[in-house]
């Protein structure tokens, strides 16, 4: 999957595998602009998620990019920006 874009559905799958789902939160709903905190994911969950994204897509994210972004939309943007840059390079 290296090179292909990370979709919200990919991210939901990776989140589930990496950190499970918080009780009372529906990941299948519109979560793009909810904060990871509201979704019940802490920095550890996001580090595991980030590392799985790195492996699936063959990229290396900046140390802080996963823990600084607050929403799925922001995380997708960071990852896809980097993927686009690598495709262009």
């Amino acid at each position: 999957m290296a090179g292909s874009e990370l979709t919200i559905e990919d991210l939901k799958r990776i989140l589930r595998d990496a950190a499970g789902e918080t009780e009372g939160i529906d990941l299948d709903g519109d979560i793009l602009d909810q904060t990871f905190e509201d979704l019940g994911y802490d920095s550890l969950a996001l580090l595991e998620t980030g590392s799985r994204i790195e492996r699936e897509h063959g990229i290396e994210l900046e140390d802080t990019s996963v823990t600084v972004v607050e929403t799925p939309r922001a995380l997708l943007a960071v990852v896809n920006e980097q993927l686009a840059a690598e495709r262009a390079a």
């Binding site: 990496a18 950190a19 499970g20 009780e23 550890l44 595991e48 590392s51 790195e54």
Partner: protein
């Protein structure tokens, strides 16, 4: 006057029963949970049997957020803690967080989790290692996870003394309660039934090679040839007796006495330490040998170790001087989970006036033990002694007794 410390809740995940009631019903009836290893293919190893906890679906009991970050034995422990708290009728929101602590025993940590991450490291590379590896395998994990799940901020701890650790943890919990903490979740839940853990246990040379679950683990038999390992254990709720009484808690019994010793270096010719541990535990409880109604033996099923234990029991109680039992013949040896499970069984014996049997064993006459072998024995039990030994020379002994009214 020292604070009396009592047990008000029991949570069990055992190979012959998931939950205290299932475990106790099976144990009284002599029903074993030992069988061929199911968790991996053990047919190529010199040991092929284990006591595995049946019917445990972690997701039935725990939030999915906890699943990726926990080893199998931690999941068992979290559930045992939940059940023990429920059994004790503890409503967490009515407690001050600093009044509750967690002190567990461990032996080898979350070994299966560690195996998976080691495989990723060596087969694929460091970047494949889980973010949870830094704690999911380590010895402190059960205490940490239980304290978080239940909001317990009081004194916490973890002891590792192989199979003796289950009693050492309960004793450390008693110390902390005597220093002023109201409640401690304590005991051990353990298990490393995975290929990597298996070869480590095989290396010690104490596992039976038997393939017959009904004949495999025979402590104190003349032809004992090793033990069957298992998984699971018990967590207990220990409380200050006064505080338990005030809240109207049901009390299983009192942690009345404890002592631990270490064997001399092999080859020194000095006397082994188990007898000393028993005598000191009796003294600590303020009882004599005549007061003990039953001994829950460590029951290694390794001839030298069986002899040492039989000699220690004989020296304190006299030949066939006290009923001795080893219900772990139905579960296998559970490492740091064994002794707290035996303590739970001892407390249930006190409650029901029945001593559970030792299964599969025809006792060797030379040991001169009154081993409870032919089914459960009905007898009033007011005071019980639990023994536990760890690989390398650890000896621990604990006296539990019916709580004063």
């Amino acid at each position: 006057m020292t604070t009396s410390v009592v047990v008000t809740g029991i949570g069990v995940t055992a190979p012959n029963g998931l939950g205290t009631d299932a475990f106790w019903a099976a144990t009284r009836a002599g029903e074993s949970g030992i069988g061929p290893v199911k968790r991996f293919d053990a047919t190529g190893y010199p040991a092929k049997l284990a006591g595995e906890v049946p019917g445990f679906e972690a997701t039935d009991h725990l939030p999915s957020r906890l699943i990726p970050q926990t080893d199998h034995m931690t999941r068992l422990a979290l559930v045992a803690a939940d059940w023990a708290l429920a059994d004790a009728g503890v409503a967490l929101d009515q407690w001050q967080q600093f009044d509750m602590g967690v002190i567990t025993a461990s032996s080898s940590g979350g070994f299966e989790f560690g195996q998976n991450e080691l495989q990723k490291l060596w087969a694929k590379g460091g970047q494949y290692v889980s973010a949870y590896q830094s704690f999911a395998w380590f010895y402190a994990v059960n205490t940490g996870q239980i304290s978080i799940r239940n909001g317990m901020q009081g004194p916490s701890g973890v002891v590792v003394s192989d199979q003796a650790g289950g009693l050492d943890a309960l004793a450390q919990a008693r110390r902390q309660i005597r220093k002023g903490t109201r409640l401690i979740v304590s005991g051990g839940v353990d298990g490393s039934i995975c290929p990597w853990g298996w070869i480590a246990q095989v290396a010690a040379g104490r596992l039976t090679g038997s393939e017959d679950p009904d004949k495999a683990y025979r402590p104190f038999a003349a032809d004992a040839d090793g033990y069957v390992p298992g998984e699971g254990g018990a967590l207990l709720i220990l409380e200050d007796a006064e505080s338990a009484r005030e809240r109207g808690a049901r009390v299983y019994g009192e942690i009345a006495g404890y002592a631990a010793t270490f064997d001399p270096k092999p080859g020194s010719g000095r006397e082994p330490g188990l007898k000393r541990a028993i005598e000191a535990a009796l003294a600590d409880a303020g009882v004599t040998a005549a007061d003990i109604d039953v001994v829950f033996a460590d029951a290694a099923a390794v001839p030298d170790l069986d002899r040492a234990e039989a000699e220690a029991i004989g020296a304190v109680f006299g030949p066939r001087g006290v009923p001795v039992t080893a219900p772990k013949t139905m579960t296998g040896r559970l490492y740091s989970g064994a002794a707290s499970l035996d303590t739970a069984a001892a407390l249930l014996s006190i409650r029901d006036g029945v001593i559970p049997p030792t299964t599969n064993v025809a006792p060797a006459p030379e040991y001169d033990l009154d081993l409870v072998v032919d089914g459960p024995r009905t007898a009033p039990v007011a005071t019980a002694l639990v023994l536990a030994r760890g690989y390398g020379g650890f000896n621990s002994a604990m006296v539990v007794r019916k709580a004063a009214k």
